[in-house]
């Protein structure tokens, strides 16, 4: 257990060294926050109460979305990029030699990264947003606890998806195609394009049932207290997808490990 903690701590430190990159990233998130607020203000002005959100819900959605984008790693983070690259280049053989579990190793790396980005890239845009607009915040300690759990589970779901994408490289030589496909799906179904509550009809119901909904829409709705079935069922929904994804990841790891042929020496 100690070793995984050590990996996570080092991953946290590693990301904290990219100071300018972090600041310019947070700035970009903030700029997008303002742009989206302009769009949503117009939209909710034309259709008040759209998707069950009031104006303040919609604006809070914008800033939480911009804040969670990097910590949750919707567009791929270390796992997809680096693990995928290691599978492609064959360096994965070294990882498999280690007396650690591949899945837990990369999970620790990802959690260290997410913790750092949650603090800086999640905090900064939200602070700016809260200073300029009238945003909603959870009011009870229990609600804050639920939010923390929801965000943690969101990161796990996202990790599960990204791990599967990276490991697909064992079967197809170049994972960049799968990475792009994953990018498309996660952008659309997580609520990055528009809050999923605004998606009409069957496409809305489908979108809200996907694992991507558990990475962005569901934790934000926990924050807003707007989950249709209540916070408990929202957390169960996330947990359900985590079990499915991690089981699949574990299965894929063991099949892939047997597939590896180490050349040369």
């Amino acid at each position: 257990m100690g070793v995984y903690w050590a990996i996570a701590v080092r991953s946290f430190r590693r990301f904290s060294t990219y100071r300018i990159a972090t600041v310019s990233g947070a700035f970009t998130n903030t700029v997008f926050g303002f742009i989206l607020c302009g769009i949503y203000l117009t939209l909710w002005h034309e259709r008040p109460g759209l998707g069950g959100y009031d104006v303040s819900d919609a604006l809070t959605f914008v800033w939480l979305q911009q804040g969670l984008l990097m910590p949750v790693g919707i567009w791929g983070a270390t796992t997809t990029g680096e693990l995928g690259e290691r599978v492609r280049s064959g360096e994965i053989a070294v990882d498999l030699y280690r007396p650690t579990h591949l899945l837990l190793w990369w999970l620790s790396v990802d959690l260290g990264r997410a913790a750092f980005q949650l603090l800086v890239r999640g905090g900064a845009p939200l602070l700016v947003g809260a200073l300029v607009f009238d945003l909603k915040f959870p009011s009870t300690p229990l609600a804050w606890l639920a939010v923390a759990a929801g965000v943690f589970l969101a990161i796990l779901v996202s990790f599960g998806i990204r791990y599967l994408v990276a490991l697909s490289g064992f079967w197809i030589t170049d994972t960049r195609g799968t990475e792009q496909l994953a990018l498309v799906l996660s952008t659309f179904f997580s609520g990055m394009v528009l809050p999923l509550v605004v998606f009409p009809g069957w496409i809305g119901e489908f979108a809200r049932a996907t694992p991507w909904a558990a990475t962005m829409q569901v934790p934000i709705d926990i924050w807003l207290g707007r989950n249709p079935g209540g916070t408990g069922s929202a957390l169960m929904f996330q947990l359900g997808w985590i079990v499915v994804l991690l089981l699949a990841a574990q299965l894929m790891t063991s099949v892939a490990t047997r597939k590896v042929v180490i050349q040369g020496g």
Binding site: I20, L36, L43, L50, F188, V193, L194, F199
Partner: protein, 271 residues
């Protein structure tokens, strides 16, 4: 000097051909990336279409008019990204020391950096924008004049140049501040997100900023207003869109000055 400028297109072409060949080494992956890059950019438009399932006009624009704004924003950014987008990798090259190689080769460093890892799959964005543009033009009820047709065509070129110049400015800034690649995204991708909506909905300050500070309103907003015969905001004249080629020329001058200043400032990592 003149000879260098004349040689540049063929040198650039040679460089991108090299990168295209390398991307074709994995044809399945290339096709997947091209298709998903088209689908990915379609998402922006799907968002607008989904909005219009709830509303009939957005900031005074109908769906077809929004489609025209979207198509011109997406196409100009797409073309700029295709030809100059890779330049944002310059910070990484400086950090790792591989930028030095560009300075000793007999091709301008600018061309090599702009063509660095040229990704043909990025053609997906302008392609899907073209489809939306055709659909929008068929649905629109515009009283076409020669001036309006020329304005639309010219603005696509001028808009691409403006976005291209912003890419170069962002890259030039990386000579001062490494690792700031993402900063430019707020002006390029942020600019595209902004310009696919009627800018007036964002308020007067934003309209002033994108007119006089970072002039992305000239990419497509003012030209489209001219084409649609809508009045310009802030009491600006309705023909202000005609200035977009002039704005593009100024942006090229600025970008070129910034890039040269950056190059002069460059000191190798020397490891």
């Amino acid at each position: 000097m003149v000879e260098r400028v004349l040689r540049a297109p063929s040198q650039y072409w040679m460089l991108i051909l090299m990168w295209i060949r390398s991307s074709m080494a994995y044809p399945t992956s290339f096709v997947l990336m091209l298709v998903s890059s088209m689908v990915l950019t379609v998402m922006d438009f799907v968002a607008i279409a989904l909005m219009f399932s709830h509303i009939s006009s957005f900031g005074g624009f109908s769906l077809a008019e929004m489609a025209l704004l979207y198509a011109t924003a997406s196409m100009t950014l797409g073309i700029a990204d295709l030809f100059t987008g890779s330049i944002e990798r310059v910070g990484e090259r400086i950090r790792t020391g591989t930028f030095d190689a560009y300075l000793i080769r007999p091709v301008p460093a600018f061309l090599q950096t702009a063509a660095d890892g040229f990704a043909l799959r990025r053609i997906g964005r302008p392609l899907q924008a073209l489809i939306v543009l055709v659909l929008a033009l068929r649905r629109l009820d515009v009283d076409w004049t020669v001036a309006r047709g020329i304005m639309l065509a010219v603005s696509l070129v001028a808009g691409s140049v403006i976005f291209g110049a912003i890419f170069v400015l962002g890259a030039a800034f990386q000579f001062v501040s490494l690792d700031s690649a993402e900063l430019a995204n707020s002006f390029t991708y942020g600019g595209q997100t902004l310009t696919q909506y009627p800018l007036a909905v964002f308020g007067k300050e934003i309209v002033r900023a994108v007119t006089f500070v970072v002039p992305i309103a000239f990419v497509n907003y003012y030209p489209v207003l001219f084409v649609l015969g809508k009045p310009a905001p802030l009491g600006l004249p309705s023909w202000i869109g005609l200035l977009s080629p002039l704005v593009a020329a100024v942006m090229i001058a600025l970008a070129s000055l910034a890039w040269r200043a950056g190059l002069r400032r460059y000191r190798s990592t020397g490891s």
